[in-house]
Subunit: 217 residues, 2 copies
DNA sequence: ATAGTTTTTTAGTCTTCCCTAAAAAAATAT
DNA sequence: ATATTTTTTTAGGGAAGACTAAAAAACTAT
């Protein structure tokens, strides 16, 4: 049996590996799940005993095959529940994260597969993140970041990297949502801010915002 | 903050009070939640400190107003989730209990109220148990037990007391479900077994089964 | 290369919730 | 009324998962 806490560590490692090097540091995990490095070390030993991670002292950590499947499954549940909350209940995309953090730990294969079917097998969650299938396979995201784009390029907003409440509220306020067509009007060399056109309106977004937006060209 | 374990104790006390005397014994709670009497004593002290139960050593325990509201809320969540699983996903009434045991601890007022609305404010769960409203109020059940009934009486199956997997499977096998019309054909004085008519078929049920069936006349 | 800094681990504690064993109180039986 | 049984509580301890403080290892910079 994998505990809730163990699932959270596996998930954190999974995400950190995905967005960076092949091995994850103790500190990085501690930061990610708001705990102390010493707690992380404790847990890594436990996960290593269970053969869910490959861990050697001072050498960082990565997931084993078994660990990766469990992590992907937790992420699958998280994202499916998010879709459920937004599509079937009246939640907006900035409200679902904390609830999905709880729901992702509900243990029942059948439940999550029924939810999947009930939602008609969505491929992405409300933030544009791909949903792993029941074997832990996940589609590659080939959307491109707004910072890597030239004036005149256009595409459809497909993914937001930062799913924090505050960032999603910013997007709401500026009428930016997944699926909207975005055209790059101008890029300011001084601060890398970008003027874009969305729904026939032009707005300027900072480099920091652009960093978190991805479009399909 | 009320922990999951505390919620389970409050729920157990709520159920035991409902079906019996005004005060609940340590042993009764231990039996209900499959733990030891000493663990129960520990927890009762903690709940008493939080003013969720009235507890005096050796005197049994009952819920305070605050405790009762929390317990009713957990039960509300449990039953609404059961309705969701049966009505919206493809679960049968004998599969939902264990999953609802997990889901009942998800913390979000908004979530459960949205679920309630999504289900169009059901009044009863799949086993015929009434669903408390968001203030913890619960309608009185005025269905009558099959053992208290005379030959010739008839009514609609409204409630099953035992929600165990094995009992519900027995009902499935014998084509008994909530909402079905039942007529009492004969009562055998020797063993109190009852011959009933359901859906134009006659079956004999034991006293033990009858004890768990309630109908609206 | 070595001194200083940062990261990681170890050692020891705390809280929650469970347990066993023994003591104390209450209930029951003779 | 007292002996026996049952119930409940206390005492002490274990596992999980967090923490602080200190030690050890690994980096970094001169």
């Amino acid at each position: 049996m994998v505990t809730q806490s163990e699932e959270n560590y596996l998930k954190a490692i999974y995400h950190l590996v995905k967005q960076g090097s092949s091995v994850v540091s103790t500190n990085a995990i501690a930061k990610k799940i708001h705990t102390k490095a010493s707690s992380v070390t404790d847990m890594l030993k436990k996960l290593a005993d269970k053969e869910l991670v490959d861990y050697k002292k001072y050498q960082g950590v990565c997931l084993t095959k078994k660990g990766k499947i469990i992590a992907a499954n937790v992420i699958r549940k998280h994202r499916l529940w998010e879709v459920f909350l937004v599509e079937k209940l009246k939640f907006s995309w900035d409200e679902v994260h904390d609830i999905a953090e709880q729901l992702e730990h509900i243990k029942s294969e059948k439940l999550i597969n029924e939810i999947d079917a009930f939602l008609e097998f969505p491929s992405h969650d409300p933030h544009g993140d791909p949903i792993p299938d029941r074997h832990g396979n996940i589609v590659k995201n080939n959307s491109v970041n707004l910072l890597e784009i030239k004036i005149g390029d256009e595409g459809v907003l497909a993914h937001v990297k930062d799913s924090s409440d505050i960032f999603l509220k910013y997007l709401n306020k500026n009428n930016l949502a997944l699926g909207y067509k975005i055209k790059v009007i101008d890029i300011e060399p001084f601060d890398s801010s970008i003027k874009i056109e969305v729904k026939a309106k032009q707005i300027v977004i900072s480099k920091n915002v652009a960093k978190n937006l991805f479009i399909n060209i």
